[in-house]
Structure formats: C-alpha cells, structure tokens
C-alpha cells in the first residue's frame, strides 16, 4: 500500500514539474520560477528542498531546450559564455549566502524575495514581446571588442535577422545579480538575464530567450554542487521534478518556436503574478509580520494578482494604441 502511495506521490510531483517546465520554457523564465511556488505552496515541500530540486530541474530544462534552440542556431553561444563570467561568480556568492540563511532559520526572507522576484519579472516579460524585430543602434566599443554580432533565421517572419549588441559591461553587472539570485532561490533567473541582454545589450528577444536558456544550465550547475554538499537536494523530489520539468521544457520549446509571443503571454502573466503574490504573503506570514490562514492567503492572492494583471493589461493596451498613432 505504501508503495502505491509513494508511486502516486511521485507521479503527482512529475505532473507539477511538467506544468512548471512548459510555463518556464515558454516565458524564458526557466522552470524553477514556477516549480518552487508549486512545490512549497501546493505540495507542502520545505523551501530548502524545493529550491534544491528546482536547481537540478533547471539544468535539465536548460539542456533539454537549449538542445532544441542551438540546433535552430538562434542562441548565441559566444555572448552566452562571455556573460557566464559574471553569473557563475554570482551563483557562488548566492549559494554561500543561502547556507547562512538556513543556519539562522531565515527561510521567510527567501519566500518574500521569491515573491518579489516573480512580480518584478512580469513587466520585463511583458515588454519583451514589443520588439519582435531589432532596434537599430550604433555599435559601441564593446560591440567590436567582444564580437557582439550575429544573425538567425526567424521562422515567423520567414527571413534572416541580423543584430548587434552593445553595453557589454552593463550586461555583466546585471548578470552577476542574476547569478546571485539563482544561487539564493534555486532558479535560473531568466527574467534578469533577459533584462541584461534585451534592455542593456539590445539583443533581439528570440536571441535573448534562447541564449538565456543555454546559460541557465551553467549557472545552476555552479550552485548545485554547493547545494549537494549542504544536503539541500532530496533525491525523490529531485528525480521526479527533473523528469517532469524536462518533459515540460521540451513541450514548451516546441510551442515557443511555433507561436508568436503575443497570443499566450497574458495567461502566463496571470499565473505568475498569482504565484508571486502567494509567495510574498507566505514570506510575510512565516516572518510573523501578518497572520493569515491558507484560505485567506489564497483569496487575497487571487484578488491582488487579478487587479495587477488587469491594470497591467490596460496600461499595456493604451501604450500600444499610442504607439500605433505616432
């Protein structure tokens, strides 16, 4: 009987992993940003094991989907490797910080930080879809030195897109913090990586998302070993989520290459904002700043995230209309 229950529990976690993998892959945030909230809020897994399992599945996501992307020659390996200098350093700092957090039982900080990271990831993710093409910019000195140019074939536009990256140094600074968050929260920090490449370095959205997916694995591998020796990885959970998230990521990367980002984005933003508010509330509750029952937390999170998404949608639509008029 226990064997059957354990098997069912295992399949249940795999299913959660598949959902997290699809959402993570399509948004470019990585499976971890969705997996950790699902495991902690709905499966009752302690955040220490959830982040450990998430790191492992993040490598699987990255490897699984990067295989698909690099085959289509969209990801820029050179730019990715150059930026990994900062993310791997950040990952070491982050995962060492986390050992201190657990030593002093400050888990609530991680919940709160997690919520904030998800919520602040949403706006850059929304903006990402705005620039399907590339903005024409003047190359700066880093474009030449670090060879920040490339091209890829866009399946939707049916043409080859050429691009030039700028401000390599600013990209590196942002990547350090992306790596640190990755080590702290067991996520790939896809949003910050995208911010670094899209906003700071002016790379096209498709290149940004795919290169980020390729980089995430290297960052996560750096933190994983430190997590391993600290005992933050629980085999049963890590095995189930690695399988689930990988399946989800493969499905997600197939979806991503076929659809234009605009169609599905809002569904994912709604889910993400709900998970973000829930995590932040849980952090405040665990830090004993507020007292809430699980059900209250659920309703409050639904209301706050609904308001958030509706207002973002309105702001975005108005912005889009003004953009068309000009």
């Amino acid at each position: 009987m226990t064997e059957v229950m354990t098997l069912l529990k295992f399949i249940e976690i795999v299913a959660g992993g598949i959902i997290a993998g699809i959402i993570g892959s399509v948004t470019g945030l990585g499976g971890g940003s969705v997996l950790v909230p699902i495991l902690t809020l709905f499966y009752g897994v302690p955040i220490i094991f959830a982040t450990g399992a998430s790191l492992i599945s993040t490598i699987a996501t990255s490897a699984g989907s990067a295989g698909t992307y690099t085959k289509k020659k969209i990801a820029n390996v050179k730019i990715g490797v150059g930026l990994e200098v900062a993310t791997t350093l950040g990952a070491i700092v982050g995962s060492l910080t986390v050992t201190v957090v657990y030593k002093y039982s400050l888990e609530w900080v991680l919940y709160l930080l997690f919520g904030i990271v998800i919520l602040t990831s949403i706006v850059p993710t929304i903006n990402r879809g705005k620039y399907e093409g590339t903005k024409v910019v003047k190359p700066d000195f880093t474009s030449r030195i670090f060879q920040l140019q490339g091209k890829y074939y866009d399946q939707n536009q049916k043409k080859s897109v050429e691009y030039i990256g700028i401000r390599w140094w600013l990209g590196e600074i942002i990547m350090f913090f992306a790596g640190m968050l990755s080590g702290l929260l067991g996520i790939g920090s896809g949003a910050l990586k995208v911010l670094g490449m899209d906003w700071a370095m002016n790379l096209p959205m498709k290149v940004t998302t795919t290169t980020s997916n390729f980089m995430i694995g290297i960052t996560a591998a750096t933190s994983s070993s430190i997590y391993w020796y600290n005992g933050f990885i629980q085999f049963y959970l890590a095995a189930a989520t690695a399988i689930g998230v990988l399946i989800g990521a493969i499905i997600g990367s197939k979806i991503l290459l076929k659809i234009s980002n605009k169609d599905v984005r809002w569904v994912f933003f709604a889910i993400l904002s709900y998970l973000g508010v829930e995590m932040a509330l849980e952090g405040l509750r665990k830090g004993t700043f507020i007292s809430l029952s699980g059900l209250d937390r659920f309703y409050i999170a639904i209301v706050i995230s609904a308001i958030l998404i509706v207002s973002l949608y309105v702001i975005f639509r108005i912005g889009e209309r003004n953009g068309q008029r000009q």
Partner: protein, 138 residues
C-alpha cells in the same frame, strides 16, 4: 565567424541531448529500482520520500558519499543510480564549456578562450573545492 558558430552550436546541441538522455536513463532506472526494492542505500521508501528537514532519518544529498557511487551501481541500488543521473546533469554544462573552449582555441579567438577559461574555473572551484570544503566544515 558564422561558420564557427554553426559548428559549435551543433556540437553543443549533440552534447546536451546525449547528456540529458544518459542522465534520464539513470534517474528513471534508479526510481524503478527504488520502487521495486522498496528503498535504497539502507533507507526505506518512506524515509526517502520524506520532506522532514529536521529528522536525521530523511535521506538528503549530503548523506550520500559520491565515492560510493560505483559500488552502489554494481549493487543495483536505486539511490546511486539517481545520484549518478543527477551528477551527469550537473556535469553537462562543464562538457559544453569545454567544447566551447576548444572551439575558441581552434578559431584563435583568444579573448573568448580567456573568458571561457574563467567560467570553467568558477565552475570547477564550486564543484571540487567550495562544496566539499563546506561538507567538511559542517
């Protein structure tokens, strides 16, 4: 330059896929072995699937010495199959980086040889020094 990038992405793509398949093979067979045998490494299935962070009986990664992996595999112990699968995953990015370094050396792109060497150093320091050191300190 684009030609180089194409060759490199092809190698990386194959490496990643192979590593993921190998890793998943060990993880899935580990889970099957664990379920059939009702446990692994002397732990019951209940202890293996427990989320209790404070109980000393909960099986977590620091309790499994990597040096036991070969003998664990020989004994068809599920836990060690899963461990090996997880470590194949952790090492995948290292292999990718090494293939990138080789490619940069071949194309005489010395700036990127240096950058990828720094990344590789960070990774190996984390895997071989910081982790084991923390383990000894605790």
């Amino acid at each position: 330059m684009d030609k180089d990038n194409e060759d490199l992405t092809k190698v990386i793509s194959i490496t990643l896929r192979t590593a993921v398949v190998v890793s998943m093979f060990f993880i899935v067979s580990g889970v099957v072995l664990m379920m059939i045998k009702g446990g692994g490494d002397g732990y019951t299935i209940a202890q293996i699937s427990s989320y209790n962070t404070t109980a000393p009986t909960t099986l977590r990664s620091n309790l499994v010495p990597l040096s036991n992996i070969p003998s664990g595999i020989m004994n068809l112990d599920g836990i060690y199959f899963i461990s090996l699968g997880l470590w194949v995953l952790i090492f995948t990015p290292v292999i990718v980086l090494i293939s990138a370094v080789i490619d940069f050396v071949v194309s005489k792109n010395y700036l990127y040889v240096l950058l990828s060497a720094i990344v590789l150093t960070n990774l190996t320091v984390a895997i071989f020094y910081i982790g084991p050191y923390l383990h000894l300190a605790s």
